[in-house]
């Protein structure tokens, strides 16, 4: 799919403009703090409904009350108009003028964002890896997104019961839903991880020239086949802690490199390679799901100093139907070039274009 245009209003430091895009590689060049990442963040938001900030108001320009991001997306079956309105504490989405849930944007569009800080996925907490997995599976299966939302609510309600009363029957009311939703999430995660594993192994082998083998696996806390009984076994522990101790909200996506946990043993460079392999797998999975590749957004490729990873990134970009690549210099092979200064984008003739004309 191809992002045809991106419009923003009061979005971070971006000047209100309508940017036109085309297929192939588009380079966005600018110094630090000029707003390169903001462009990609806005594009990712309108294409997926995902905004990776704790408070929505932080992306609205200071002094303004509301913000807006709009996009036109070209898919095999035509052009779709996507919109996200932003106000303190909430997001409102529209597809072709009709109100939808923000998460539903991911039914109509898809994008993969590769950022320098992705390597935190490897060295970060199990929660970070769960967030990566949840975000990915939610975009592949709307059923998962709904189940996860309900599941998290049941856990919150159930934890409140654990803190408030010691009566078992009060817990049992929530246990049925907990095990039903928990089991569904586990099944959908297993299915997704099986595919993620193969694809990330392939990408990792390409990146390292068949170096140390990568293994990813789900570490589950609950027994899927007798979830209900497992909950009962943990009653005492749950009472003592006042929280739900097992289930998908406590699981981890374990990453191993040559048999050792990457979180403890991988070097920074290895972690970046693993993260890149996972993003490539995400890209491939979403391509399969939609029957056409997602929009590829690469933030600051110039931060990648390792030549094999840099080549891998640029090759991914050149093979994608559309890639938007930011950096302090232009991505080689870019068909179009924008420069960004203090949030204002300006179209430049790309080097290729100039060379062609000469």
């Amino acid at each position: 799919m191809i992002l045809r245009s991106l419009q923003t209003l009061h979005y971070r430091n971006l000047e209100p403009t309508r940017l036109a895009f085309q297929g192939g590689v588009t380079a966005i060049v600018g110094g630090n703090g000029q707003g390169k990442t903001n462009v990609l963040e806005a594009a990712f938001l309108v294409l997926t409904g995902v905004l990776d900030v704790t408070r929505v108001e932080t992306v609205i320009r200071l002094g303004e009350k509301e913000g807006f991001v709009g996009a036109e997306l070209e898919r095999d079956d035509g052009i779709t108009k996507l919109e996200v309105g932003l106000a303190p504490g909430r997001k409102a989405a529209k597809v072709d003028g009709a109100r939808v849930k923000t998460a539903d944007l991911a039914r109509h569009a898809s994008a993969v964002l590769i950022r320098p800080e992705d390597s935190e996925l490897v060295h970060g907490s199990p929660g970070d890896r769960r967030a990566f997995l949840d975000a990915l599976v939610s975009r592949m299966s709307p059923r998962y997104a709904l189940a996860l939302q309900s599941y998290e609510r049941v856990v919150t309600q159930r934890n409140a019961v654990l803190k408030q009363t010691h009566e078992d029957w009060m817990l049992e009311i929530w246990d049925a839903k907990l095990s039903e939703l928990g089991a569904e999430i586990m099944r959908l995660r297993r299915r997704a991880v099986t595919r993620l594993k193969t694809l990330s192994n392939d990408a990792h082998a390409t990146l390292t020239g068949n170096g140390k083998p990568l293994e990813i696996a789900l570490v589950e806390t609950a027994r899927l086949d007798d979830y209900g009984a497992h909950i009962l076994e943990k009653r005492r522990e749950e009472r003592a802690r006042g929280s739900t101790v097992l289930g998908p909200h406590r699981d981890d996506l374990e990453i191993k490199l040559a048999g050792l946990p990457a979180a403890d043993y991988a070097s920074r460079g290895e972690a970046r390679t693993i993260a890149l392999a996972l993003r490539k797998a995400e890209y491939d999975l979403l391509s399969q799901k939609f029957g056409e590749p997602p929009v590829l957004l690469i933030d600051d490729f110039t931060a990648e100093l390792d030549s094999s990873r840099r080549e891998f990134l640029l090759e991914m970009a050149s093979l994608a139907p559309q890639a938007i690549v930011t950096g302090t210099e232009a991505a080689p092979g870019a068909a179009r070039l924008y420069s960004i200064h203090a949030g204002a984008l300006e179209s430049k003739q790309s080097a290729l274009f100039v060379a062609g004309a000469a």
């Binding site: 059923r143 709904l146 309600q157 009363t165 009060m170 049925a176 839903k177």
Partner: protein, 207 residues
């Protein structure tokens, strides 16, 4: 410029209403100001009167302006079916369907421990009393009674439904849950996966 105190006070009161934010409250306040004195008095009078005359039906806890609500008073309705709902608005919704001719019981909420709403905060005790009180001949009357659980399909509504079911089990009543399914007149392709899955699981023999 600062708004006059009376205006600020009005906006503050209005914004306490459910679903009304500061902006809507401001709009409502300006609207009220633009009306004639008589019109504003009529609104105020209606609010006061509603507050003074309305109360909860002592049997089903629906909102009523008579001693017993219209449904509970109506002897022609099926006395053997009680439909349990979360809010008074749900009664109106079901009545509008025209499909139900039994009695109601309004819980005034759903279990939500995180908001401090436990079994004591919902009005279930009345239903249990009602069922116990009607049990004149212990052999078969209770078995004839059907209680339909029509709480919403949210996580909280489901938990409430399960809680009520458990409370009713020892009384030997026939407890049913409203069906999940497709909206009537909707095309299949627009239904979300969960609803569609439930609709398939809850399919019925073709008639």
């Amino acid at each position: 410029m600062k708004y006059p105190n009376a205006l600020i006070q009005l906006i503050r009161e209005l914004s306490r209403l459910p679903g009304v934010g500061p902006k809507s409250a401001q709009r409502l306040a300006f609207y009220l100001f633009a009306q004639t004195k008589e019109e504003v008095e009529a609104i105020a009078q209606a609010m006061l009167e509603a507050k003074q005359t309305l109360k909860l039906c002592p049997v089903c806890y629906n909102i009523t302006d008579t001693d017993l609500c219209a449904v509970c008073m109506d002897a022609t309705r099926d006395q053997e079916v009680i439909c349990v709902v979360e809010e008074p608005g749900d009664v109106i919704a079901i009545e509008r369907s025209g499909e139900f001719n039994g009695l109601y019981h309004v819980l005034h909420g759903a279990l939500s421990p995180m908001n401090g709403i436990g079994p004591e905060q919902i009005k279930l005790g009345g239903l249990l009393k009602r069922i116990n009180a009607r049990d004149t001949s212990p052999t078969d009357t209770a078995a004839q009674l059907e209680v339909i659980l029509a709480t919403s399909t949210t996580v909280e509504g489901e938990a409430t439904s399960m809680y009520v079911q458990r409370q009713l089990e020892p009384l030997g009543v026939n407890v049913t849950r409203i069906a999940y399914g497709l909206p009537v007149g909707g095309a299949l392709e627009y239904a979300d996966e969960v609803t569609l899955g439930r609709a398939i699981a809850g399919r019925q023999k073709a008639r």
